[in-house]
Subunit: 591 residues, 2 copies
């Protein structure tokens, strides 16, 4: 009964997906395809609204403190963070294909902006805001270009081990940088995370004990709300009230500082009012200098947003469209550029809050944007007495959620190279900085992949009993022949492995004086490049010298087409057989 | 009769190779393995000597003018080129595993040295000789390190398209740079080949007509010797006298300038006497700055030497040992460093001359070294009146032999990406310089490879008649099933293609409402990385939502071992079958 019920539910969900796809294709015009909010509006039901309203308000409460804290992490004023939750959030709601993803300021992008500011601000007389908006616009344009040239696939180069190594290290870097604010000592300045940590350690005796106290008190408040909040907030889904800790910290810390007149570093004056629209300055030299930074921020922002969006979508049996995500995230960043914010991306933690608070459509993020707008318009005087140490505590707690080390152990057993990639990226970011470390990780990942395929597994095969199947002689009890060698090369023939394959196959022939035929099983050869082709020609020639014929079998369609263009049958000393069975049927008898 | 004769000859040659390998393994000690000249000496027969003597003298006549010309190409004095033919040549003869390869100054390495000098000489007060010897020593040490860490395979990254694109462009760059000497105008200075050509064009009105005359006369002499020399020199093998053109040019031009007192730029004073041994200066900053240049020179030198050596060895049914070549070429470069020369490599043209002149052993190169030593010791005053224009003509003619464009057309049909790689490297070297262009080529080659494997070919398979074989439904008339899809993904599952594979397979499922089983044929899956594994887990979960089971079959041993470590059978909704036939036997009936 239960099984049938489950099956019918699945059947329904599949039918829904099919129907949805058909409807989407039939709709007049292409607008809904590019503006998913139109679809949302058409399908919107009255009972979705309370869910979205509650989720949006919860999200707003979580968003405001994070937005201010991340702005300081990026080295920008508080309003830059708040502005990043207005137009960008609205634009993503309009264009994004994910229904729960929350776009806005995120820790990793803030860190990368901080690195870019540290690198370029001295050369441009500390015009932080100008640099941040140019970065935004470039990120947006680059994402649109990736869409226009169908190059979205390039983000796959940021493999999971690279990204997780990068984010783990970024979390460490962020915590180190926030410890400076936490302890009230002078910001640790530039340099790698290790240098910053050293300087922080040396400056520790000068720590402002009031700031440290506020910081620790903030951590305790967040911990209490997270652990006991579930009893309070059980009326809205999965207790999103547990995420309200940061807002509680903001309120409590502000009140304490204002009432008791504690003398610590605070946020100070934040201009009230909504941002005005303005284009970033059009200085070509600046644009050119910032382009590499923008490219890396764009890739990281997209990878993070896409993976968060995909995870959330799959929980509701939806799919998100990678091309549409490029458009939407590009639009959000362009929006950030026009309103004086800084680069935005999909937030892992806030999207989770949104999802857990029961958001059904992007309307919840629109509600959140209204909450932020109200804050910006009327509530900014409240932040005057908000201490930096409390914000640092908020960042440190949110960043702890980014750590992802548990996967490494499983990876070590399964595929060791990925663990190396992870660790090298991690260490690289800590020692060489955010951008150099990330690039190092990508290069290492590609190099390890090329290295892997440059040393192919070559198996000698034999016939399994009387069957037409052939298996590795080392793993199975199979029939072999003295005058025929059947070899399976488990890799495409291409430049990085052509020499290796040639020398290994030649050595096999030289050690077998009675050999007459070598059969290459090409079931794993997915393509052959010109180096691979030259290798085959040389191998054919060399085997000919030893009076051994070279045969190919199980050649796949695309490779067969390639070989036909150069007339392989004209120069190959042997034949091209359909199957290994065919080859052995002829060759094993022939002797 | 002829066939049997050929067969017995082949049988003999194979027996020879086997016996040789056995003997080499049995010999006492490992010395002959590391010092192939010991083997040469043991096997040396009296009738080898005249062949080696003649070849050595012919080689000497070809080498001397080239050595001087390439030294000027590198921006070094004439003696640096001559010294590069003494100790380096002897050391390669001792340690090299190729019997005909001639190591010494080559055009491409000279060009790369010129680039390094142009880049670094201004910072080190124009100490050209010091820079050149440090480069040598670094090249030698890097080659030894590659041997020590078993990293020789890294040179495979310099694929054939990259190397041929690079060498074609290098030939153009060299010709442009020599045209300056050819026309007697001021050397064109730094910048890319395009800039040099532009400046040369603008300076053309000031050309020294006497130099141009000598240059053209030299070209004519070389052409005449090459085309009519065969009638003269037929007594030594394949008319190596045809290669004596450069020596004739040197003699004729020197005599003309000396006798008629023509006022053109000449080589001038070359110090007489053999080089003294000296270590390059131990300045760490300089070593560090030059290391990247040295690394590129080392890779290019090794790739060229190895490929020339391999070609020559295969003509005599020998093999050369890639590890031993690293040692030998490293030793040659260290020798060059100690004697004030510049980086050396295996010369394509002179190795060909040596081979064609009938050299049987490395003794011929020892003879050549003696010829060069005699020249350096007593004949340097003869070069006083040797005009630069004649040397430029010699370089231009030898460099024409490097061009290799004919392969492109065949490659276009066979594997288009290689043509792109070739052209991008070619254009990159011309526009961005020798080193940047080479690196660009390597990066492009790797990127195109990753791109290729990131968009895998996915074939739907069906049963071929009553056989146990399965083929692509688009290419064969095969039996298919409504409730079972058999899909073959022609690539390993790894980070660059995991998302792509997942989305394509999911789409197939969503379009087939009656589907119950998806069978992934893994015959082309050579490994799975952690991104690939996560993809399989997600796919398994997603198919489960649609009530479709995921099965694997034809999983290879190494991949099976990987999957066993994480207990794939515990979470996979379907089974892992040995063969596609097994899978379909069970699944096709089950419905």
């Amino acid at each position: 009964m239960i099984a049938r019920d489950r099956q019918s539910r699945l059947e329904r969900s599949r039918r829904w997906a099919l129907a949805h796809a058909k409807v989407a294709r039939k709709r007049i015009g292409r607008w809904p395809r590019y503006v998913p909010l139109i679809d949302v509006a058409r399908e919107y039901r009255r009972d979705d609204l309370p869910h979205d309203l509650i989720a949006g308000c919860v999200l707003g409460v979580v968003t405001v403190p994070q937005a201010i804290a991340y702005a300081f992490l990026a080295g920008l004023p508080a309003q830059a963070g708040l502005y990043a939750c207005l137009l960008p959030m609205v634009l993503y709601a309009v264009f994004g294909s994910s229904r729960q993803l929350v776009v806005g300021p995120v820790a990793v992008a803030a860190l990368m902006v901080a690195a870019a500011l540290g690198e370029h601000a001295p050369a441009y007389s500390d015009r932080y805001a100008a640099i941040a908006t140019i970065l935004c616009l470039e990120v947006g344009i680059l994402l649109w270009l990736l869409r226009a040239f169908q190059m979205g696939g390039i983000v796959n180069l940021l493999s999971h081990p690279v990204i997780s190594g990068f984010i783990n290290a970024a979390a460490v870097v962020i915590i180190v940088s926030q410890l400076a604010a936490f302890t009230g000592v002078v910001p640790a300045g530039g340099g790698s995370a290790v240098e910053q940590a050293t300087r922080l350690w040396q400056a520790l005796p000068e720590a402002d004990l009031k700031a440290v106290g506020i910081g620790f008190a903030s951590l305790v408040v967040i911990w209490i709300v997270r652990h006991y909040g579930r009893f309070v907030g059980s009326w809205v889904g999965d207790s999103p009230i547990r995420r309200a800790g940061p807002m509680a910290v903001v309120l409590l810390a502000t009140i304490c500082v204002a009432v008791f007149g504690i003398d610590v570093a605070t946020v100070g004056h934040v201009p009230a009012g909504l941002p005005t629209l303005a284009l970033p300055p059009l200085e070509l030299a600046m644009w050119w200098d910032l382009a590499p930074n923008a490219a890396l921020i764009a890739l990281v922002a997209y990878v993070e947003s896409y993976s968060v969006g995909k995870t959330l979508a799959s929980r509701r049996q939806r799919r998100i469209n990678s091309n549409q995500e490029l458009i939407a995230l590009g639009a959000a960043n362009v929006g950030a550029a026009l309103t004086g914010a800084y680069p935005v991306a999909g937030s892992f933690s806030r999207s989770g809050v949104n999802f857990a608070a029961g958001a059904r459509t992007p309307v919840s993020t629109l509600v959140c944007a209204v909450v932020v707008a109200v804050t910006v318009a009327w509530l900014t005087p409240l932040f005057r007495h908000l201490p930096h140490a409390a914000l640092a505590a908020i960042v440190i707690v949110s960043v702890f959620g980014l750590f992802e080390f548990h996967a490494i152990r499983g990876h070590w057993k399964f595929y060791r190279a990925d663990v190396f990639t992870h660790l090298i990226t991690f260490v690289g970011v800590l020692l060489a900085g955010v951008e150099a470390g990330l690039l190092l990780g990508v290069v290492i990942a590609v190099m390890l992949f090329v290295r892997r395929s440059s040393q192919p597994h070559i198996a000698e095969l034999g016939r399994l009993g009387d069957t037409p199947h052939f298996r590795n002689v080392d793993r199975y009890d199979v029939q072999t022949w003295r005058h025929v060698k059947v070899l399976r090369v488990d890799e495409s023939f291409y430049f990085a492995n052509a020499n290796k394959i040639e020398s290994r196959l030649s050595r096999i022939v030289e050690r077998q004086p009675r050999l007459e035929h070598m059969v290459l099983v090409c079931s794993a050869v997915n393509f052959i490049d010109t180096s691979g082709l030259e290798m085959l020609e040389r191998l054919n020639f060399r085997l000919g010298r030893f009076n051994v014929r070279l045969h190919l079998c199980e050649v796949k369609g695309p490779v067969r087409d390639q070989l036909d263009t150069i007339g392989v049958t004209d120069w190959l000393s042997g034949k091209v057989y359909q199957t290994t069975d065919d080859a052995l049927f002829e060759l094993a008898r022939a002797s």
